[in-house]
Structures are given as structure tokens and as C-alpha cells.
């Protein structure tokens, strides 16, 4: 495995950060949920006895985030991303473990902390439904005690970046999904938070709106040196924004490192595409054939063999053009989630901690 920036020998990856803005230490959240079968009998029985079971939403997660970093937080539904974000934004108490953000313990919910962070959830709205967006913002101004001058300045900056102009006077119910999200984001940033927790900010938006939100987050982060922890289902979000990704699955941290490292680590293959000027036969001797189009063949080749296969292809076939690429990130992520469970188990079996041993 290639060496990388983070010290894989240390107990916690990225412990090298001298002044992390976010630090999680073996954070763990266990929910106690009622368990009930369907049916009338079960309903009646549940009147006097409710069976419950423990569900581990987040199990012993540790990582640090440096100031100004934009980190993509990945995992399939139910992986524990939202639970983690909720703990970091002070909405949930962890069952075990510690965390500090900006030096505060989030769930103590000190006003000074809340004043400096924001939480945006793509699937939920905080703008008042019936009143113009600008009026909702004024409420936020009062809540965060933003001085008038600063408020006006921030609003005009956000309004420029997001092109909000005509939207501000409309009630939020008259906005499209994408417009509403832009307004949500602006409203959540009026107090110029230093830490942003964005939970699926592009959920359900069309490509244009997604792109808009993405470039905005990048721009905002750069301008204000804001730290962003972002979850998303859209890999494009993560590719565009985050140099570093953290992958969790079933509440366990599987990977923490640069996006390229993720591909390196989880995809042992390269994709080789060749354009041919003439017939080719028996091509599967070069590798696994992914796709055959007229004059073009796509192969999957073990990473180590890529160079050799390329040489043989060039020597043996009428090649016009050839490219070697990493497989699409979506595919890699899919592979991570599908094999994640097995990987976790095998690592535990091998005596390693369930913590990420990689990067």
C-alpha cells in the first residue's frame, strides 16, 4: 500500500493536525428502538410490554478536520452520517466518546458555539413557508444578533454568489426546489458560521441547481476559510468539493483520506479503452471485457498489469487510440459499500481495530 500523508501507524488517522477544528474521539451512538411485529395481536401486546433492541448507528468513529478543510462524508443510507452530523451540531448526545468542534463540546449547546456553526439539511426546510424569504432572514438576523451593517453586507454577498435577487421577495412556498435550497443555504450562512454541516444539500435538485450549490459551497469555503463537512449521495458533489473523503458504513469508519486514495484503495482495477482500426479477435486474453462498440473496446485490467497489457495491446492490435483511466468514482463507492461489510469483518478477524487502517 502506498504511503500517504496520514500516519497509518498512529491510533487515529490525521492526528498530525496540530489544531483540528473538529475532533471526534471514539464517538458512538446507540439507539434503543422499540421492536414490534405487525398485526393486531402484536399491537395489543405492545400495550403492556414493549420489546426494544439496541441499534448501533455510529460505532467508535474518530477523525480530525483541519480549519478550512472541505470533507466529504460518504456512506449509504443508514450508515450513520446524519447521526454523526447531529451529534456534531449538538442535537444528539453520543452514547460514548467525545468530540469537540471549535473547542466546544457540541451537545452542551453553548450559545457561543451555536453562533459559529450552521446545519443545513436538504430534505428539511427552515424557511417560513408563507412569508417572503427576506422576512425569514430578518428573523435569523435577530436570532444570531447580526449587526445591521454586517447583515446587509453578508446578504448582498450571498445574494450575488447565489443569484438570489428576485427570489428574496417571494414566499418560500412559491419557489422551486432548487431556488428554495439556494435560499436555505443563504439563510443558514447569514451569521457567517465558521463550521458548516451540510446534510445532502443537493438532494432532489436538478443538475444545474446541483452545480450551482456546489460552486457556491466551494466559493464560500474559500472566501471565509470555512470548514465544511458535507454528506451527499451524489459523487459529483464530493468530487467537485472535497479533497478528502470519509467513508462510513454500518456506523464504522472504512476510509479516511484523499479521494484519489479511495480509488486506489478500493479499486484494484484500471479501465483500458482502445480505439481500433480494424478487426480484433480473442480480446478477452487481455483482460475482462466490459464493453464492445464499433471500433472501441473497454477492458478492465488488474492495476498491476495495466502497463504490460497496454504494451501488448499496442503490439498485437491495430490501435488508433488508447487510454488508461480509473473506474468511475460511483462504481468504486458502490464496490466499497458492497464489500464494506466483508472488509470490516475480515479486518476485525485479523486482529485490527475496526478503525480505518488505511489511506
Amino acid at each position: 500500500m502506498p504511503a500517504s500523508t496520514s500516519a497509518s501507524s498512529a491510533a487515529r488517522p490525521n492526528a498530525a493536525y496540530a489544531n483540528p477544528i473538529i475532533r471526534l474521539n471514539n464517538l458512538r451512538k446507540v439507539y434503543n428502538v422499540p421492536e414490534r411485529e405487525s398485526g393486531l395481536g402484536a399491537s395489543v401486546r405492545s400495550l403492556w410490554s414493549r420489546e426494544t433492541k439496541d441499534v448501533v448507528a455510529v460505532g467508535d468513529i474518530s477523525f480530525d478536520v483541519a480549519p478550512g478543510e472541505i470533507v466529504g462524508f460518504l456512506g449509504p443510507n443508514g450508515a450513520g452520517k446524519t447521526t454523526t452530523l447531529k451529534m456534531l451540531s449538538g442535537l444528539l448526545h453520543p452514547s460514548e466518546g467525545t468530540a469537540t468542534v471549535l473547542g466546544y463540546v457540541p451537545w452542551q449547546r453553548e450559545k457561543a458555539y451555536l453562533q459559529q456553526m450552521t446545519l443545513v439539511m436538504g430534505q428539511r426546510n427552515q424557511l417560513a413557508w408563507d412569508i417572503p424569504v427576506a422576512d425569514s432572514y430578518e428573523l435569523n438576523q435577530a436570532i444570531y444578533r447580526i449587526p445591521d451593517a454586517q447583515y446587509r453586507q453578508t446578504l448582498s454577498e450571498l445574494s450575488d454568489l447565489l443569484d438570489l435577487g428576485p427570489l428574496l421577495t417571494k414566499p418560500s412556498r412559491n419557489l422551486s426546489l432548487g431556488e428554495r435550497m439556494k435560499c436555505e443555504l443563504a439563510g443558514a450562512l447569514l451569521h457567517q458560521p465558521r463550521v458548516l454541516f451540510l446534510d445532502e444539500p443537493t438532494l432532489g435538485l436538478d443538475i444545474t441547481a446541483q452545480r450551482r450549490i456546489r460552486s457556491f459551497v466551494a466559493e464560500y469555503g474559500a472566501r471565509h476559510n470555512a470548514t465544511v463537512l458535507l454528506t451527499s449521495h451524489y459523487m459529483a458533489d464530493v468530487e467537485a468539493l472535497a479533497e478528502r473523503v470519509i467513508v462510513i458504513h454500518h456506523g464504522v469508519l472504512l476510509f479516511d483520506g484523499p479521494l484519489s486514495g479511495l480509488v486506489e484503495r478500493f479499486s484494484p482495477y484500471k479501465t483500458v479503452t482502445v480505439d481500433l482500426d480494424g478487426p480484433a479477435s480473442d480480446i478477452d486474453r487481455f483482460g475482462e471485457v466490459m464493453q464492445v462498440e464499433e471500433g472501441r473496446i473497454t477492458l478492465q485490467v488488474p492495476k498491476g498489469d495495466a502497463a504490460a497489457v497496454t504494451a501488448r495491446l499496442l503490439a498485437e492490435l491495430p490501435v488508433v487510440d488508447l487510454s488508461v483511466t480509473d473506474p468511475p468514482i460511483d462504481e468504486v463507492i458502490d464496490r466499497v459499500f458492497n464489500t464494506g461489510e466483508a472488509a470490516t469483518e475480515s479486518r476485525i478477524a485479523a486482529g485490527a481495530t475496526p478503525e480505518p487502517a488505511l489511506a
Partner: protein, 261 residues
């Protein structure tokens, strides 16, 4: 004061919001007068069959009607709509946004939604009170007026705390969105002096659903039939119940965030 400022903004937003639905003013005017008519019709029917109800004269019962409208107008203008919205926020998960704000969540939850036209109820209630006082004539002095104001303040505080306690239950029971409606129907019991109810119901309306303290005790103050025990009780409750509500609220929040689990 941040909180006063916040309240002012909510009030303004409430007005703005209502202006969008302009028919609501007319509707609310209608509603207030229908509410008044309900009380007066009730009184009319009763007093067509009797001269006094449990020792209360018609004009004295008019005092009860006025106080009833004032207190219900105040709660329905601010507290009830806000707490209804709070309970919906719990259910939909949008409460999270409120909890990530650097202001006291209970205060915010108690004033987030203002239904400004309910003010008409308060005004109508005051008018009724004036009429009642005029009809009672000389019977009301400074002392009664002060007792009345004291008892009314206590009553409003008690009802507010009680509603907060009710709404806080939403942290445990998800489908409680109607609990405040139900309270309203229990509050209807306050249209009448609670003395007319059988003892068990009187205790319920005093201690479990404190309607008696909110309406009957202030009315007694104004009509010169103050019972020192009840007034002291109201004072005590007006001090204790907000504290209980506060503790319960914090307990609810802790439960919500999983701190107690």
C-alpha cells in the same frame, strides 16, 4: 433585549402573514363575535330559566365571559399557535433547526407563530368586561381591581406553563398534534364558574387542567368574592408551575437529544 426584539419580529411576521390572507380579518371578526354570541346565548338560555346560577348574577357571569375571552384570546394569539408549530416541528424533524440556534429554545418555541387577529378576542373580552363592570356599578373598588389584575396575571402564567407542559409531551408521543385542540375544548369549561361543577370535576379543573385559576379566580377577584386560599393557591401555582414547565421542557430536550437514554 434580544428576546423582545425577536418577539417584535414574530409579531410583525404574524401581521405580514395574516395580510396575505386578508379574508382572515373578516373571518376572525366573525369568529370573535360568534364566540361572544355563544357565551351570551348560553347565558340567555340559562337566565331565561333562573335568576342566579350557583349564586352568580347575570352581570357577574358577564365578568366570567369577559375574562374567558381575554385569556383565551391571549393564549390563542401567541402560545397555542406557536406550540402547535413546535409539535409539528418535532414530528417533522425541523425542530433540529431551532435547537441549533443560539437562543433559548423554549422562548423561541413559545412565540414563533403569532395569529394577530386573535387580538380581537382580547379586545372584545375587554369590552364585555367594561359592560359587566358598569352593570355591576359601585360594587367594584380599587382593591377588587388590583386583586383582579393580580389573579389574571397569575392565571395567564399558569395557563402558559400548563400549555408548555402539554406540548413538551410531544417529545415522547409523536401523534399528539391534537392535544392543544383538546385543551381548548377543556378550556370551554371555563366559560362557567367552576363552582357549578361536581367536586371531582372542580378538582380536575383546578389542579389538573388549571382553567379555574385562569378564569374563575380573576372573576371572583373582580366580583368581590375572593377566597384567600384560592388566591394564594393561584399565586403559588404561578410561581411553581413555570419552574415545573421549565424543568420538564429541559427534560424533554434531553430526552430528544438522547442524553437521558
Amino acid at each position: 433585549m434580544t428576546y423582545l426584539h425577536l418577539f417584535w419580529i414574530h409579531l410583525r411576521l404574524g401581521v405580514l402573514n395574516e395580510l396575505q390572507y386578508r379574508t382572515n380579518l373578516g373571518v376572525q371578526l366573525l369568529q370573535s363575535f360568534v364566540g361572544l354570541a355563544t357565551s351570551l346565548l348560553g347565558l340567555g338560555i340559562i337566565f331565561s330559566k333562573t335568576d342566579t346560577l350557583d349564586g352568580w348574577l347575570p352581570a357577574e357571569l358577564l365578568v366570567v365571559v369577559g375574562v374567558y375571552m381575554i385569556v383565551s384570546g391571549l393564549t390563542q394569539m401567541i402560545v397555542r399557535p406557536s406550540l402547535t408549530r413546535f409539535m409539528e416541528d418535532v414530528r417533522l424533524g425541523t425542530l433540529d433547526f431551532m435547537l441549533t440556534k443560539p437562543v433559548d429554545a423554549q422562548v423561541l418555541a413559545s412565540m414563533r407563530q403569532v395569529e394577530i387577529w386573535k387580538l380581537i378576542d382580547v379586545l372584545v373580552g375587554m369590552a364585555v368586561l367594561v359592560v359587566a363592570v358598569v352593570r355591576l356599578g359601585a360594587a367594584i373598588g380599587i382593591e377588587e381591581a388590583l386583586l383582579f389584575l393580580l389573579a389574571l396575571t397569575c392565571g395567564v402564567v399558569i395557563i402558559y406553563s400548563f400549555l408548555v407542559i402539554l406540548a413538551t409531551c410531544a417529545f415522547w408521543f409523536v401523534k399528539l398534534d391534537n392535544i392543544l385542540n383538546i385543551f381548548q375544548s377543556m378550556y370551554e369549561a371555563g366559560r362557567w364558574p367552576i363552582g357549578i361543577y361536581p367536586p371531582w370535576l372542580r378538582s380536575v379543573l383546578t389542579f389538573i387542567v388549571p382553567v379555574g385559576f385562569a378564569v374563575t379566580v380573576p372573576s371572583e377577584g373582580l366580583t368581590g368574592r375572593t377566597s384567600p386560599t384560592l388566591l394564594l393557591g393561584a399565586l403559588g401555582l404561578a410561581i411553581v408551575l413555570p419552574l415545573v414547565a421549565r424543568l420538564f421542557w429541559r427534560f424533554g430536550i434531553r430526552h430528544y437529544s438522547g442524553a437521558s437514554a
